[in-house]
């Protein structure tokens, strides 16, 4: 509120006819029109006084609360934690704070925008200030700010940011990761594997004769196949595998902590599974096969780009060998040497 002594000592005070009484009136009126809760506790944490904001929101009768322990009037308060905090204010003579970001609210008060927010209670920023009244008696002033709006909009913002982040990672058609995010993941997984001396394998997958499939059934037929293949392949993968759309009908899978033998196993399973699938498009039944190239990162200091090149070469070899099959290569030897 207003500083009596400071104001009364000012030269202009007498000219403005500012008296202690008029300053008191100003303070009382501000305190009762403030959109912030004011609650004064004594050193035993009994309520000394509160302002109109709290009286309205807490919906309690003044006569019943004055002189009562704050913990009996507001039983929702976390007693042992708050007592310790209030003690720090009294003992160290320092202010203390509690933000809605750590605790949504301390006092269970209703808020003024009940429809648009998801919380029942008013989100609060609380400040605990040491004050002295009646000749040095230590008291605590608790300020309770309504930050329901801030909390609400922060929540909306976080949600929107999360959705944006997801959207920027996902391929719109197939709902698996897009090439950009997949490559970032490879970068990270590659570094992780190197750091912890763990194996890491890569599968490149390309649907066979996809162009003629598009020609025969139209692009919508092709899209149905792409969506169904990715959904089916996803089911064959572990949670930690990273499955991305590399280009048109080409896909790539990062297999952390997997050696070449394990990766070839997975690739063979995927290859067989795709060949056995029947796609119903309009009245027609579509069959499709895939070629897969597998490579493993070696101990040698190859970059993750080179790992892609090796998997790509293996994929090319699978195609050259007649499609609908898996070809593997270790990244430290070339395809031709194999």
């Amino acid at each position: 509120m207003l500083d009596f002594n400071m104001l009364l000592s000012k030269k202009g005070a007498s000219a403005l006819a500012l008296t202690e009484l008029s300053l008191k009136q100003i303070n009382v009126q501000i305190a009762n029109q403030l959109n912030t809760g004011l609650l004064i506790l004594n050193a035993n944490f009994d309520i000394v006084i509160w302002n109109r904001f709290l009286q309205i929101h807490a919906d309690k009768v003044v006569d019943d609360i004055i002189g009562q322990s704050v913990f009996s009037i507001f039983p929702e308060l976390p007693k042992s934690w708050l007592s310790r905090k209030l003690n720090s204010v009294l003992q160290l003579n320092t202010p203390s704070f509690c933000s809605w970001q750590q605790r949504h609210h301390l006092f269970e008060l209703p808020h003024t925008r009940p429809i648009t927010t998801d919380s029942e209670f008013m989100a609060q920023n609380c400040t605990f200030l040491p004050i002295e009244i009646d000749n040095g008696k230590k008291n605590i002033c608790i300020l309770i700010e309504d930050v329901t709006d801030v909390c609400h909009y922060q929540g909306q913002l976080q949600k929107a940011l999360h959705e944006l982040e997801q959207m920027s990672r996902i391929d719109g058609l197939t709902q698996i990761y897009n090439r950009k995010y997949w490559q970032e993941s490879l970068d990270q997984e590659y570094a992780k594997a190197k750091r912890h001396s763990k194996s890491l394998s890569l599968i490149m997958l390309d649907l066979d004769h996809f162009k003629s499939l598009n020609d025969n059934y139209g692009h919508q037929g092709g899209d149905v196949v792409l969506m169904e293949v990715t959904a089916q392949v996803s089911k064959l993968l572990r949670l930690e595998d990273v499955f991305g759309r590399y280009g048109g009908e080409e896909f790539a899978i990062i297999l952390p902590e997997t050696d070449i033998a394990g990766a070839v196993n997975v690739a063979n399973r995927i290859c067989k599974h795709i060949a056995n699938l029947n796609f119903n498009y309009q009245t027609q039944r579509i069959k499709v096969t895939a070629s897969l190239g597998v490579a493993q990162a070696s101990d040698e200091a190859l970059s993750h780009e080179e790992l892609i090149t090796h998997a790509d070469k293996a994929l090319y070899q699978a195609k050259a060998n007649g499609r609908n099959q898996v070809f593997s290569v270790l990244s430290n030897s070339t395809v031709t040497k194999n």
Binding site: S80, R84, K85, Q91, L92, P95, S96, F97
Partner: protein
């Protein structure tokens, strides 16, 4: 830039004020926390903002930084940064006298920071016949990326700052943290005139 640098007398005077404040603060903290709190003699230096950002961002093992703004009469203001490392922060709830599970790790860091900052600065303000007010302390999100961003977005702009580095140690709880008080350019001039006044009275 030169007008921001402290003279030798001013530097000595500030050092002495801080030493006294540290003694009193450590006494108050020891009573409240019921354990011995050791404050290491601080270093006071002028730092360029860019340098400070660089050195803070480069501290690999920094786990968290809590920031709290402070302001007082005579244009004295600044920001306290409390810098924590993972290994020194395991028993803060214990140190503060809270039950385990009563508060999150974030809240523990914010709470202890606020207590250390306000206790010290209150005593320091008394030394110079002033009274300190504080903003609510804030945990800076994800230290590595956001520290420089945060420092650049601080409410006051500063190229040069007075950096007071104080180390807090509570050996019984293997607690250790660094408090860095940053006082921006314009406020340094105000501190200097306060120091000059004290030196004249002395």
């Amino acid at each position: 830039m030169k007008e921001f640098h402290l003279t030798e007398d001013q530097q000595d005077c500030l050092q002495e004020l801080i030493n006294i404040a540290m003694g009193q603060a450590s006494d108050q903290l020891a009573r409240y926390l019921d354990t011995f709190v050791y404050l290491k003699v601080p270093s006071i230096e002028s730092v360029a903002a860019a340098e400070l950002i660089k050195s803070l961002s480069q501290q690999q093992d920094t786990m968290a930084i809590v920031s709290q703004g402070f302001f007082a009469n005579e244009g004295i203001r600044g920001e306290a940064l409390l810098v924590y490392q993972e290994k020194d922060s395991g028993r803060i709830a214990d140190l503060l006298g809270y039950e385990p599970g009563e508060l999150s790790q974030d809240e523990q860091l914010i709470d202890i920071s606020s207590i250390l900052t306000t206790t010290f600065l209150n005593v320091f303000a008394q030394q110079i016949g002033n009274q300190m007010s504080y903003n609510a302390p804030k945990l800076l999100p994800s230290v590595q990326n956001n520290l420089s961003q945060h420092l650049q977005q601080m409410t006051f702009s500063w190229d040069l700052a007075l950096k007071v580095n104080i180390n807090y140690q509570v050996t019984d709880y293997s607690f250790n943290c660094n408090m860095i008080l940053l006082i921006p350019g314009a406020a340094i001039l105000n501190i200097k005139s306060v120091l000059d006044r004290i030196l004249a009275e002395f």
